[in-house]
Amino acid sequence: MSDFSELTDALIKGDEARVLELTRKAMDAGTPAGEILKTGLIVGMDVVGEKMENEEMFIPEVLMSARAMGAAVEILKPHLSAEDAASKGVVVIGTVKGDLHDIGKNLVSMMLESAGLDVHNIGVDIAPDQFVSAVQEKNANLVCLSALLTTTMPMMKSTIEALVESGVRDSVKVLVGGAPVTQGFADEIGADGYAPDAGSAAKLAKSMV
């Protein structure tokens, strides 16, 4: 088993050039791509997620780490075995109708993609029926709803209701998040999970697919 501590460190520091350098070095040394991904990069992003949860790392840094991860995954992809490359689950993620905030949602999206999930980031100001269509079209296992305003939170309830009405609620898990959202609210509207920040959201999402 190779020592990936340097790679993990570089990822946590958001040093994209170094991450790519160390990734290529490991590949050249014969390390299987899947191992580099799992033990080097995904472990590193898990640490980034934890540091974001305890406020040690903040949005700009997490974004840089996520971008470095994305770049590394791009060069590893062609070398991943069928098993490693297989999608761990399909996710639809978007910000609810009336709300334009997307930074947090994009962070979650990037972190889930890095973890091997098939992520469809459908954007902001998304109406309930648009979420339903996306879930049906992509055969999603998980739908992630984001809202950053107390005034748009009720749209999360409407979206879940739309999922129920169209008969897909039982085939998909619902995860909600955003600054004003609380566990209590998530329970009230019948969501399957709630996360207070992008780091814990990615962690929870991985366990829910």
């Binding site: 305890n54 406020e55 040690e56 790392m57 903040f58 949005i59 700009p60 840094e61 974004l63 109708k97 009336g98 709300d99 334009l100 997307d102 930074i103 994009n106 100001d125 305003l149 107390t150 005034t151 748009t152 939170m153 009720p154």
Partner: protein, 545 residues
């Protein structure tokens, strides 16, 4: 039937209201430094008699702050106790909102505006007027004497709508969830106006009936709530208000009682988040005569900015949030006595000295919390000494170990040890607080940067800082944390409550209303969310220089 018997009268209440809200709605204003959130314990009342089940049982928040003898005597926190029946209560002197504490001076800009008051002394206009800056957090009221073109007395009151939420979004949300909240919030602000006007007139030995003209400015949500108009549509994109035009109504139409026959004028608004406060500030600052590249910045909860450009006026709103007013900060509080408003870190020893706001010598010299200016001062000081990384994380290697503590499980820096604070609990700045500051300053800075970008220049020529917070902020500290782009200190001017000055001008000078309308129709609006570079600009602004 919910009701309160107090001060020899009976106040009718609505079942489900807190005692605090019911009292204010009945015209009895209590201290509520924390905005009714159960954090300051200033709203103590003593229940002398109560019908069975008329008031909710004491909760953990109250038990934590009231000692046993108080609880046995029937003392409750008015903001936490909920009414469903009839009670009789007694209000301790210290709990009442005192007009002395609320007194303030006229706005800074007012002295420079006298030359614009041409209608002074005209007998056709009413002599006495009231100018009101209806802020989300603070309401400022100025009693104006048109005969001498002076501000006779002025006062500021915390906006009691805070019980429905600190910021406009929470108050809009309250109406969306329960339409009945609209009337309740309108009542709270009208009662505050009655209270302030009553005390101002008393101070001037004036009959309230003599105040015939009232001008109110404020952000769009505040003006909607004042008129009892539904602000719901402003809660979701595209944030459209129900109306933007100026309005003139009889005071009694809004439920104002100190002079029901007075005429209330609200100045015109621009968009859902760019209101008559920034318009009034622009009028007072004579922004349209200033050199292109001058930015008028209201460093408050809504972060409105208006720029003078070669192509005219451009305005935007940054949704800064209440972090700069002490809200969402763990030990945050309003800029009142007991608030730390500046800190100094001794470079050699790392000793922290806190400067306290203290309005009266007899008030305690112990800190109770930290206000917006104090938070900025602390973050700037920590950056300068190297205890905060540019990304905002505490530097565990350089910060003295004795200062790095845990506050309810969160990483924090100790500012005041337990034995030196008012509450007997340590006062600190948490890592999360720093993140809140980053978000707030990131929003404002991104707005400034995008406006400057739109002007086609690389930096503003001149910054004019308005708003109550804008008056107390330390400019060097603001530059240190990157709240503004790098500028020489002399390019930043503090102009105090410019919105209030604009409202006063409108009381004195009827032609100002037309000028306000012109500004509204001519101002170009920059929607930050529509700018493709917004995300990158905002993310970049989050770090410290």
């Amino acid at each position: 039937m919910a009701q309160i018997q107090v001060d020899d009268r009976i106040i009718a209440a609505q079942s489900g209201q807190s005692i605090l809200e019911a009292l204010i709605a009945g015209g009895v204003l209590l201290r509520s430094d924390c905005g009714g959130r159960g954090r300051c314990a200033k709203c103590r009342v003593r229940i002398i008699a109560a019908d069975p089940g008329a008031v909710s049982a004491i909760d953990e928040i109250e038990t934590a702050q009231l000692d046993e003898s108080e609880r046995l005597a029937g003392v409750r926190l008015a903001c936490r106790a909920v009414l469903t029946g009839a009670i009789t209560l007694e209000i301790p002197g210290a709990s009442r909102l005192s007009p002395e504490v609320a007194r303030k001076g006229p706005p800074l800009l007012f002295n420079r505006l006298k030359h614009r008051i041409t209608a002074a002394g005209e007998s056709s206009q009413p002599r006495w007027g009231l100018a009101v800056d209806l802020g989300t957090t603070t309401i400022a009221a100025y009693l104006c004497d048109r005969q001498s073109a002076t501000v006779t007395a002025s006062m500021s009151v915390r906006n009691p709508q805070a019980v429905f939420g600190d910021d406009v979004m929470s108050r809009i949300s309250a109406v969306r969830v329960d339409p009945g909240s609209l009337a309740r919030m309108q009542t709270l602000v009208i009662k505050s106006l009655d209270w302030a006007a009553g005390h101002l007139c008393k101070a001037a030995q004036l009959e309230p009936g003599a105040v015939e003209k009232i001008v109110v400015v404020g952000n769009t949500t505040m003006i909607h709530l004042l008129h009892g108009e539904d602000p719901s549509t402003m809660g979701i994109y595209p944030y459209s208000p129900l109306f933007v035009e100026s309005r003139q109504v009889a005071a009694k139409a809004l439920g104002v009682q100190f002079n029901p026959d007075a005429e209330i004028t609200t100045l015109p608004l621009i968009t859902g988040f760019i209101g008559s406060d920034i318009v009034a500030a622009a009028l007072a600052a004579e922004l349209d005569t200033r050199a292109a590249g001058t930015l008028l910045v209201d460093v408050g909860t809504n972060g409105e900015i208006m720029a003078a450009t070669t192509a005219g006026l451009v305005a935007t709103s940054c949704a800064t949030g209440p972090a700069f007013e002490g809200a969402t900060i763990r030990h945050g509080m309003q800029a009142l006595s007991g608030a730390i408003d500046a800190i100094h870190i001794e470079p050699q020893t790392g000793r922290i000295d806190c400067r306290l706001i203290q309005h009266h010598p007899y008030q305690p010299k112990r800190p109770a919390g930290i206000c917006g200016s104090g938070v900025i001062s602390a973050v700037a000081a920590m950056r300068r000494i190297g205890w905060l990384e540019p990304g905002g994380a505490f530097d565990h290697d350089t910060m003295p170990a004795r200062l790095l503590i845990k506050d309810s499980g969160e990483t924090a820096m100790l500012l005041v040890p337990a034995e030196e604070s008012q509450s007997g609990r340590p006062i600190c700045l948490t890592q999360k607080d720093v993140r809140a500051v980053q978000l707030a300053k990131g929003a404002l800075r991104a707005g400034i940067d995008l406006l400057v970008n739109k002007m086609g220049t690389s930096r503003p020529r001149h910054l004019l800082l308005a708003g109550a917070f804008g008056s107390t902020i330390n400019i060097a500290d603001a530059l240190t944390i990157g709240l503004f782009p790098p500028l020489p200190e002399q390019s930043v001017a503090v102009i105090g409550n410019a919105a209030g000055a604009g409202a006063i001008l409108a009381v004195f000078e009827p032609s100002i209303l037309q000028e306000a309308r012109r500004i509204c129709s001519r101002t170009e609006v920059l929607e930050l969310a529509d700018q493709p570079q917004f995300q990158d600009t905002f993310v970049k602004s989050l770090s410290f220089p």
